[in-house]
Symmetry: C2
Subunit: 221 residues, 2 copies
Amino acid sequence: MPKLSDEAIQERMAIIEDAARELFIKHGFHATSMRDIARRAGVSLGNLYNYYATKDAIFESIIDRYLGVIDMELRAIFDEIDEPMEPASLRKLGSNVGRLVDDHSDFWLLMYIDVLEFQNQHFRKMFDGVSDRFRKIFGRRFRDAEKRGDLRVGVEPAPAFTAAYMQFFNYFLVEKLFGGNHHMGLTDEQALNHITKIFAYGTLSEASLARFKKTANKAAG
Amino acid sequence: MPKLSDEAIQERMAIIEDAARELFIKHGFHATSMRDIARRAGVSLGNLYNYYATKDAIFESIIDRYLGVIDMELRAIFDEIDEPMEPASLRKLGSNVGRLVDDHSDFWLLMYIDVLEFQNQHFRKMFDGVSDRFRKIFGRRFRDAEKRGDLRVGVEPAPAFTAAYMQFFNYFLVEKLFGGNHHMGLTDEQALNHITKIFAYGTLSEASLARFKKTANKAAG
DNA sequence: CAAATAAAAATGAACGTTCGTTTTTTTTCC
DNA sequence: GGAAAAAAAACGAACGTTCATTTTTATTTG
């Protein structure tokens, strides 16, 4: 048998990694055996080692792939934000974060595996200097908003935006993975509106609040 | 050898559970062996089974003990809150949550183990209906604040307080366990002040804001 | 256009260890 | 001496990994 095409190899690796990921997030890394992975992937035990040197290598390959996907999705989410401090933008960010957590809850479970069993070595970069990254992406918009006097005195846009972003993430992670089951006592929609409202009133100056009044009221539904 | 006194038994169990907890949070549950636990506790392998029927039983005993401790600490934190919606109260809550996360980071790692390897069965109650619990604790204060017109129109105190509480928790967990390393671009003190300020301005009416002006300005440092 | 070739891919038994747990033996102390 | 506690030894099952072998199939050959 001549060498498989690259696409064929990628296909087989995807099958193996899908199986492994499902097992890892269900039982953890060390509770999942190579035999389990082989069985679920419909592949022989020995053949796994034609594609991966070790069990660790499977985990790392899954994470590398997934980090790329999430990075792209986050980029897309930030790309569609024009004015980061506008209430409507925050509200949209919240929805998008919710979708991201929903669509990729596996990813966040892998992160917890990494924290527990690998000292968080693969995911460290996710949260390292989030605020600085936002400053890089929205720096100009932040400065413009400050110049226009859109912000309350003493409110720095980068930390404020970071706080809102983290709050949205935390809200949906608690709901999806930690059994929150409407832990804020509201539907997801209402919770998003409430958080958005708090951050709008909490960060925007009276002048700019007046300007966004209509939008804010609609969002607070 | 006569039967050990109850205190002696509790002492020995504490030694075993301390050892097991340290290993669990460092490597995860399944990556920790009974031999590891015995070695670290300075006890023979077989003797572990004089105290616990299974390895799972050790984990459950650790969690039961710890849930009690955390529950008490949380109760103490809420007990010292007079007016939950006051900026000074929120700021204090933030500090206390920070101390709780710092002093008991083991506990939160155990929670992640539970999510991953035990379907979150032991920790579910932690986040189930948080908002309702606050409504029970602070119900009267919440209603008083609403009656006095302290809150912005459309802001419900229970979800708002829950949001602040969750934000504080999330902030310190990210810092302590996920390699955030000042992810908001501020020191812990500054971050607490910033979050407090946002929630104060985000939830309080103009009238009550004026009343708290002095306190809020001091807190915003 | 088959049939033969060759080498990659897949297999599953087997390796030495380590696992959680049980059983047996030794130690301890009234 | 006797019973409880601790230690040691032993158990079968399961672990990650290896490897000799078989199967598969694109290419070469007649």
